[in-house]
């Protein structure tokens, strides 16, 4: 079982990313106050309608600078609009949960951040989505590089049908992050350790990744995402296909990763959101209804719809 503080961190020989997001910013970042984790008000360009939630509400303890800054994002699948004017500021190095009833656009929003929606031809997007102040949809952005900075873990574990080793080594290799041999071995080990999987698989790295149990597969996918040392990890209901025990492991793992990565997690399970996330955004019919500290959302929501959802009145 992973030990919450048994965190190998960045100690491995991973080729450190050169220029992106300062890892040292964690401490002493109390500069931005109060507004940090709140949705962006109407001022943002391209936004025509301010969410009701824009009115201030003081969170208890602002911590990190903004990592992902979304301003007035609209998204259409062909003719039907799936996201309406979404504005959010997601802080660095912490866990933010997206909750909401089925079909409310959580996954859609998540996939905007690493531009996975580019793969769906009918998608049209309007608005701004800044990652470290650079617009992800800007003309100069190279999607491939973007995705190596923003890892993703999917609802159904999807390890490649290759060996465990190859699953991890694949991405570092195509990005040229480690040389074949010892360097790569080390990177694989570090990533598996971070994902809390090393102990279970260290003696059978050449076994196909698909032969692992569901929970192990999901952790393998997390290790795979970690291996390229991303800044942000997106997780789309990472535990919904898992049994309770595996779910608990994943939740523990998320807890360990929170100090090094900006994690955005979609979940159907409100208890899970309450357990793992520091901030929670409630989506409904493509809109962000409320975005606040998780505690506030669950104990003292300001919106009626949030409360109805939380208390199981619908969904």
């Amino acid at each position: 079982m992973p030990q919450p503080n048994d965190n190998p961190g960045n100690s491995g020989g991973v080729a450190a990313r050169s220029s992106l997001g300062g890892a040292e910013l964690r401490e002493g970042s109390d500069t931005v106050e109060g507004e940090d984790h709140r949705p962006q008000p109407a001022a943002a360009p391209g936004v025509t309608r301010a969410p009701e939630i824009a009115a201030g509400h003081d969170a208890e303890e602002p911590t990190h600078p903004t990592k992902v800054d979304v301003r007035g994002l609209n998204l259409w699948y062909g003719e039907t609009q799936a996201l309406f004017d979404v504005s959010l500021r997601i802080p660095e190095k912490d866990v933010t949960a997206l909750i909401g009833p089925s079909g409310c656009g959580k996954s859609t929003f998540l996939r905007c951040i690493n531009r996975m929606n580019d793969l769906i031809p009918s998608v049209a997007i309007q608005g701004q989505l800044l990652l470290d102040e650079t617009d992800v949809y800007g003309p100069d952005v190279d999607v491939v590089q973007l995705r190596s900075r923003v890892g993703m873990v999917f609802q159904k574990p999807n390890p490649f049908p290759k060996s465990i080793y190859e699953n991890i080594a694949y991405a570092p290799r195509i990005h040229g992050l480690a040389k074949k041999g010892a360097e790569m071995d080390e990177l694989v080990e570090t990533s598996l350790r971070k994902a809390g999987l090393w102990k279970e698989v260290s003696d059978r790295l050449s076994m196909p990744g698909t032969a692992l149990s569901g929970g192990q597969q999901q952790r393998l996918c997390i290790a795979r995402a970690i291996a390229v040392n991303p800044d942000v990890i997106l997780m789309d209901e990472p535990a919904s296909a898992l049994d309770p025990v595996a779910t608990a492991t994943i939740e523990e793992l998320i807890d360990e990763l929170r100090s090094n990565y900006t994690i955005i997690i979609v979940t159907h399970n409100m208890q899970q959101a309450a357990r793992v996330a520091r901030y929670t955004a409630f989506f409904h019919l493509g809109e962000v209804i409320e975005y606040d500290d998780t505690d506030t959302i669950f104990t003292n929501p300001r919106q009626k719809r949030t409360e109805d959802y939380i208390t199981g009145r619908f969904g």
Binding site: L119, L146, F154, F160, R224, A225, A227
Partner: protein, 388 residues
Amino acid sequence: MAAPNLQAEKRIRQRYRRERRFKALCVGAILLSVLFLVFFFTDIIQRGYTAFYQAQIQVDVTYTERTVNLPPAAVDSEVRPFVSRGWLRQLPDHVEQDPGLMGQTVTRWVTADAPVGQYLKGKHSGLTEEQKATVDRLREAGRIELAFNSHFFTRGDSKMAEMAGIKSAVVGTILTLAVTMAVAFPIGVMSAVYLEEFATDNRFTRFIEVNINNLAAVPSILYGLLGLAIFINFMGVPRSSALAGGLTLALMTLPIIIITTRAALRAVPDSIREGAFGVGASRLQMVSHHVLPLSLPGILTGSIIGLAQAMGETAPLLLVGMMAFIPAAPEGVTDAATVLPAQVYTWASMPQRAFDELTAAGILVLLAVLLTLNATAVLLRKRFERRW
């Protein structure tokens, strides 16, 4: 459970009767096909198996200056009519290869004339009564016998049934199919990859799709016209060559390969693609590192089936001149060549009766190859079948 009333009882019995009848109908349909297969194979085997045996005759061959110039003189006049002319014709070559033979008389088993074999196999031979008596006598004396027909596998076409074999047709088939695959496989796979993995759904893509479906339905004979006009008349590819035939068949096989490859690519779940994209693979890397390797068994299966179909195709080859008489195996793709089905077709129209069984035997070989190809495809499918 409460007892249902009588009418309901009757009704349910009737429903079950219908159920049995329908199922029997389905089973019957399958059995019919299988029965036909059995009937078909039995029929062809019955017609063809005798071709794997041929008559041999033991003669004293005299190698002299005179017999080299006039080979029939080398054997005794009594057996002369029973010795294959095709064999006698090789006499000078024997001497050339082994000059020591000159002046000697050697007793050896040689290929007999086809009618002898026909007679021994109990078929119509055209031999006179007198000749039949002689053959009978020689057979009693152990000087004529039926033996394995190695010529059938080691020689090319011949006008003399006893000398005719499928070797040049087999080589021609291999060369032709090699050309076909060399052209159709890469182009087909690339087209499929484009349509499945790269193309967006626009008018051009749809046009290509419609086109491909259409090509799969175009009568093969029209491909023959195409091959004749484009490859031979326009591009100057030699007539009758494996190249011309192979290119023609390649265009014909292309839609099959594209369609099956697309199916194989589609069978790879999107979660693999998302996984690859998710770790920052480019589209090309996603396709070449993940999707293609995973779909390879499916692609190969489809290609083998396409190959098998191409192999059985005759009509278009008729038009590009592959219905030719080819005694010697072709050595390159530009040499004149024929293919197995064409060989079967030409043998089927030969006047000599001995070609009847050769035709059937040729078919047997063709079927054996096809079954092997099919079995390979099935095994491949079984072995690599993946449930996502």
